[in-house]
């Protein structure tokens, strides 16, 4: 089997040379300092994994990855950046839909394993891509939308958008949210980062383990870049929308996430694209473990 292709973009050539040395044994490495050249390569060649810098003179990495998404949807996208500013991080979720948001300097082992994982997922995506593209999503179930927010305003906005096309569930505290998630599959979760004074990141980071198809939209007034980066890597949230969010923007994103949920139901191979990284925070790992334990007990009881 031929080696998977890795495309590297950074305005610092030394980064490119260094990474090439790390990967050339196992990958076919393509690299450039010019984002436009990268776009050309994406159009003409089969690229498994794209790794891009964020800050570049002619184009931001998140923008390049957005174009990559359209040009070569099966390729996996990774951002590798020296400094995380909030806008870049938000753009990398909402537009770049990155698989991982990595920081320089990186750990050699982490980067290697992330790239290997991404390459395997891309290979699987290429295999089903043709089917995926033709397959018109059939809405054969009534979607269930969970709102994790203590503000009722959010619920009302969602209700206005969705009417009774979906089953709406409102959880205004963490306990309720966990119960609702345990009870039944959820298509889309719309969540703030804090419910009352509980940080619900651990719930969001557990969702993909309950159901990899569930799409997560974070709507929050929190502006914390490092938390957002964690949510990208460890929860694979699909959207990050700053509060207050306009009804139009929420509607647009909600529609596309419902669509994605259906698409993923019909094409399980694509679910892997949102594989999450292990939870890094010790406390959250424990909380997530407890949550999963609770669900398993609950499901066992139901099964009996």
């Amino acid at each position: 089997m031929s080696k998977p292709t890795l495309l590297l973009i950074d305005d610092e050539e030394r980064i490119l040379r260094s990474l090439r040395m790390l990967f050339f044994m196992s990958y076919n490495v393509r690299m450039t300092t010019d984002p436009y050249e990268a776009i050309r390569i994406l159009r003409e060649e089969k690229v498994h994994v794209v790794i891009s810098d964020q800050r570049m003179p002619v184009m931001q990495g998140s923008e390049l990855l957005r174009i990559a998404r359209e040009t070569s949807p099966a390729s996996m996208r990774i951002l590798l950046t020296g400094y995380s500013d909030l806008n870049a991080s938000i753009a990398s979720v909402n537009e770049g839909e990155v698989f991982r948001y990595l920081l320089k300097p990186w750990s050699v082992e982490d980067v290697k394993s992330v790239v290997a994982e991404a390459a395997a997922i891309a290979e699987a995506s290429f295999a089903v891509q043709s089917v995926f593209a033709e397959h018109k999503a059939v809405e054969n179930i009534r979607p269930r939308v969970l709102i994790m927010d203590h503000e009722e305003a959010t619920v009302n906005t969602v209700r206005e958008i969705l009417g009774d096309r979906c089953e709406l569930v409102w959880a205004h505290n963490a306990q309720l949210a966990m119960e609702e998630l345990a009870k039944q599959d959820v298509s889309v979760v719309i969540s703030d980062l804090m419910l009352g004074d509980t940080n619900v990141a651990y719930i969001l980071k557990t969702i993909k383990q309950l159901n990899p198809q569930t799409q997560c939209i974070v709507v929050t007034s929190f502006n914390d870049t490092s938390r957002l980066i964690e949510l990208i890597n460890q929860a694979q949230i699909s959207r990050y929308l700053p509060k207050p969010v306009s009804k139009n923007i929420l509607a647009r994103n909600l529609e596309s996430m419902l669509e994605r949920f259906h698409a993923l139901r019909n094409q399980p191979a694509m679910q892997k694209r949102q594989t999450v990284a292990p939870i890094s925070n010790h406390q959250e790992r424990l909380q997530s473990g407890n949550f999963l334990g609770m669900i398993n007990r609950l499901r066992a009881r139901i099964a009996v």
């Binding site: 610092e12 030394r14 980064i15 040379r17 260094s18 990474l19 040395m21 790390l22 800050r55 570049m56 003179p57 590798l80 950046t81 020296g82 400094y83 500013d85 920081l103 320089k104 300097p105 990186w106 050699v108």
Partner: protein, 444 residues
């Protein structure tokens, strides 16, 4: 009480009231001899003059001084003793109204009193006699008041100073905050490849060791002649396999390139760290003799990330004489001017920095071709907290502080701007460094 008096007048009244000595007034009909008796009364020992009052209103004073002058003459007692005092008074006494402001009263008394001081002043309430006041008391009250004012002023001054310090610090933090973003990026990039290269080098080193061990074993066997041909053939086989999946020559060649890169990266990191250190070290030196061009370079270095990829910097730096100043503060001024210029550019732009030496002053001009400043804003840009930038981006303190720093250096900063064309700041710093009475307050 004092009907119609405003509250402020009430306060003034209390000041004058404290000066009132309600001594009994002298009626004009009292004889000179009787008044002489009064002056001898120990109760009036402190009194310089006695008020003469007719139906409640003061009509004059008779001073001890005048009295004695008159009495010293021969037969004065016989000549004048029986006559009414009315004929001997000074009909233009010093008159102070109860609700007059203290300062006004003091000024009036000071301007009209006579030397040597021979008379007290008369205090009236709406023209009616109330008592007399001693000039010394009035002056003392005035002095106390001045002292209180000065204390208050001093307090206000030190409060202001410390809040100004906080402001300077917050502006500095804000600009540092923006810079940290840039510097972190600048450091993390070389750190990224240096670290990666070292890790690769370590890996490669291990592999090379295994290969060398293989060669050495082979050479040993060939030399001591103990090994069988089969053994040697097997070793050769192993080595050629290793060579097949590990091309040491090529890898070492690549590695050499990575080492060069790494050294370059480490150089970059050291340079950045040194810049940061210089920047903060200069903070410590309140005053130092430096070349202003170096300050400009230092600020450009620190602000590099704000400017990079966006601003083309054109420098025309003339030879400048050494200049005694607070380099950290001037750095802050320059950094702010550069950042402002970069922020005024939509996409890209040009920053033109010139220095020259003329008229016993150093001149720095910082010109950009950014969006410019409207005439109505132009008058306000040096005001503290005036900003047109979104929260988090602008503090509105940069120019206010810059102006203050320049003024404390005895210089001035001026601006010219045209909407759509650009903005030029011009700084003039006199070389004959003005002796500053106190060290600059704003060193942080």
């Amino acid at each position: 009480m004092r009907n119609g008096n405003t509250p402020t007048k009430g306060i003034f009244a209390r000041e004058i009231l404290a000066l009132v000595n309600p001594i009994e007034a002298v009626p004009p009909e009292l004889t000179v001899a009787e008044v002489a008796e009064l002056f001898l009364n120990p109760a009036y020992a402190k009194v310089l003059s006695l008020p003469v009052v007719e139906s409640g209103r003061p009509i004059g004073v008779i001073s001890r001084y005048r009295f004695m002058g008159m009495y010293l003459k021969q037969y004065a007692r016989e000549l004048h003793g029986k006559r009414a005092i009315r004929n001997y008074i000074n009909e233009h006494p010093l008159l102070v109204e109860l609700d007059q402001p203290l300062a006004e009263a003091a000024l009036y008394v000071a301007q009209n009193m006579q030397f040597p001081l021979t008379e007290d002043f008369i205090i009236t309430r709406r023209g009616k006699y109330l008592g007399i006041g001693f000039v010394m008391d009035l002056l003392k009250a005035m002095e106390a008041r001045m002292r209180a004012n000065t204390d208050e002023l001093n307090n206000a001054y030190s409060r202001l100073k410390s809040s100004q310090l906080a402001l300077v610090q917050s502006e500095k933090m804000a600009s540092l905050g923006q810079m940290v973003a840039g510097v972190a990026h600048e450091i993390n990039t070389p750190l990224g490849y240096v670290q990666n290269n070292v890790a690769i080098g370590q890996d490669l080193f291990m592999q090379v060791r295994v290969v060398i061990a293989g060669y050495e074993a082979l050479v040993d066997n060939l030399l001591n002649g103990q090994a069988s041909d089969d053994q040697i053939a097997e070793q050769i086989q192993q080595i050629s396999e290793m060579r097949a999946d590990f091309n040491a020559q090529e890898m070492l060649g690549e590695m050499q390139g990575l080492m060069t890169d790494s050294l370059y990266g480490i150089g970059q990191i050291s340079e950045l760290v040194m810049n940061l250190k210089n920047f903060s070290r200069m903070d410590a030196a309140a005053s130092d003799t430096v070349n202003l061009n170096d300050c400009i370079e230092s600020a450009l270095n620190i602000g590099r990330n704000v400017l990079k990829n966006k601003v083309e910097v054109v420098k025309e730096l003339a030879d400048l004489p050494k200049f005694t100043c607070s380099p950290s503060q001037l750095n802050q001024v320059f950094l702010n001017l550069f950042t402002n210029a970069a922020q005024a550019m939509e996409e890209t732009g040009r920053l033109h920095i010139r220095t020259w030496h003329a008229d016993e002053a150093l001149h720095i001009s910082v010109a950009d071709n950014g969006k410019g400043i409207s005439p109505e804003n132009l008058t306000r840009i040096f005001d503290p907290f005036f900003t047109t930038k979104p929260v988090g981006e602008g503090t509105g303190l940069g120019l206010a502080i810059s102006q203050q720093i320049i003024q404390q250096h005895g210089g001035e900063i001026q601006v010219e701007s045209r909407i759509g064309e650009g903005t030029t700041f011009h700084i003039r710093l006199p070389v004959a460094a003005v002796e500053r009475q106190e060290p600059l307050a704003m060193t942080v």
